[in-house]
């Protein structure tokens, strides 16, 4: 990957779009409510055909009027999440990168400052992710970091639990984070080789990246002091009944094969805990407001500390 000089305080927020304009225009403008922090937005459009490019051009003018630089990159076709995110990261100038899906909206106004502070507090921490909550009130937890069982099954920690469940109000190391919203130190991201294009177009590329980062001795942390809204599973298209099934199987098998030597020896969740439960997550039209919070959420500490 290309390594380049970067602004020390600048954060590059890299977002992908591939159609789903109704979510993009609900979520991206919310980011303009971010509390003062030097940041830029890099949007990579993966061949959208629903008017997204034209909307992004208009949003760029709005954002830049609000003091946020926007870089737009257009791929003629869907280049895949890994390729597009790597391209967006290379186009950004920040020493810190945030990968943010177009179905994530602002909840904690100080999100960039708080996630950045967690990275700055310990050089061993290479990536940090917030508490993701459902947009539909009462905003239950969508993902509080990811656990991987000893057989390679995936657990979205806290999924469906009340937002203030004490167990998920603790800042702690996690095995993985989802790429819906994650801040990564650029040097660690580049050292790991970025997202692996073997996982294009999508599925498991984020877990693979987390393992490559951790396999180099870095830590990955879940920080519940920051909350962001996440509309679940709208970033990528799939069949209505079983979205992305073929990709989940192919990439899931690759992930298990590649990282078994690590997760088989970690204290991940039990297999039975990982059972995916169907949830009614709320349609976009049902979400009438997305309240923003200004103060940092209370964060507990792990027992024994």
């Amino acid at each position: 990957m290309r390594t380049h000089a970067t602004g020390s305080g600048l954060v590059s927020v890299v977002t992908l779009t591939h159609n789903k304009l109704e979510h993009t225009r609900r979520c991206l403008p919310s980011l303009l409510g971010t509390a003062a922090e030097p940041w830029e937005l890099v949007v990579v459009d993966n061949g959208s055909t629903d008017g997204t490019p034209a909307w992004l051009a208009g949003f760029k003018r709005t954002a830049e009027g609000a003091g946020v630089a926007v870089k737009l990159i257009r791929n003629d076709r869907n280049a895949g999440c890994s390729t597009a995110r790597n391209r967006g990261a290379a186009a950004g100038a920040g020493a810190r990168l945030v990968f943010l899906d177009n179905d994530v909206a602002l909840r904690s106004r100080r999100w960039l400052a708080a996630l950045g502070a967690t990275l700055a507090a310990d050089r061993a921490v290479a990536a940090v992710g917030p508490k993701l909550v459902y947009p539909l009130a009462p905003h239950a937890i969508q993902c509080a970091g990811v656990g991987i069982s000893r057989s390679g099954r995936v657990l979205f920690r806290g999924r469906g639990e009340p937002r203030d469940t004490p167990a998920f109000n603790v800042k702690r190391d996690v095995q993985c984070l989802i790429s819906a919203c994650v801040m990564v130190r650029r040097d660690a991201f580049e050292e790991a080789g970025g997202f692996d294009e073997a996982f294009n177009p999508v599925e498991y590329e984020d877990f693979d990246l987390c393992y490559r980062i951790r396999s180099r001795g870095h830590r990955i942390v879940y920080d519940p002091s920051v909350e962001m809204y996440h509309f679940e599973s709208v970033t990528t298209a799939g069949t209505p009944a079983l979205p992305n099934t073929g990709l989940i199987i192919r990439h899931g098998l690759l992930f298990k094969q590649r990282w078994r030597h690590m997760f088989a020896n970690e204290d991940g969740p039990a297999d039975e805990e990982t059972r995916w439960r169907r949830r009614r997550t709320g349609e976009l039209a049902e979400v009438t407001e997305l309240p923003v919070i200004d103060t940092a959420r209370h964060v507990g500490v792990p027992a024994g500390e």
Binding site: S151, N244, T245, I248, G252, R275
Partner: protein, 86 residues
């Protein structure tokens, strides 16, 4: 002793892999695994892993189709074809 039917082995595999709270024999062979037993994309991955372990078979990308996983009956037919193909 008669060899266990593939359908019965599949039922046990499904209950075990998906942590279903039912007896294997309660699974209907012609009932939709998606609608009847909550099979989703992630649990299909675990079924594929289970097929590899239980039957020593692998499924090439070009052979994968959701239609093979619609019911126990369909899956059993698929397993027989794959086993015969070696």
């Amino acid at each position: 002793m008669a060899e266990e039917r593939i359908e019965d082995r599949l039922k046990r595999l499904i209950v075990r892999r998906l942590f279903l709270k039912i007896a294997p024999e309660a699974i209907g062979e012609h009932v939709s695994l998606i609608d009847g037993y909550g099979v989703d994309s992630v649990s299909l991955l675990e079924l594929v892993v289970g097929l590899e372990e239980e039957f020593g078979m692998s499924i090439p990308d070009e052979e994968f189709s959701l239609k093979h996983f619609e019911t126990v009956s369909a899956l059993a037919a698929f397993v027989r074809v794959r086993l015969a193909a070696g």
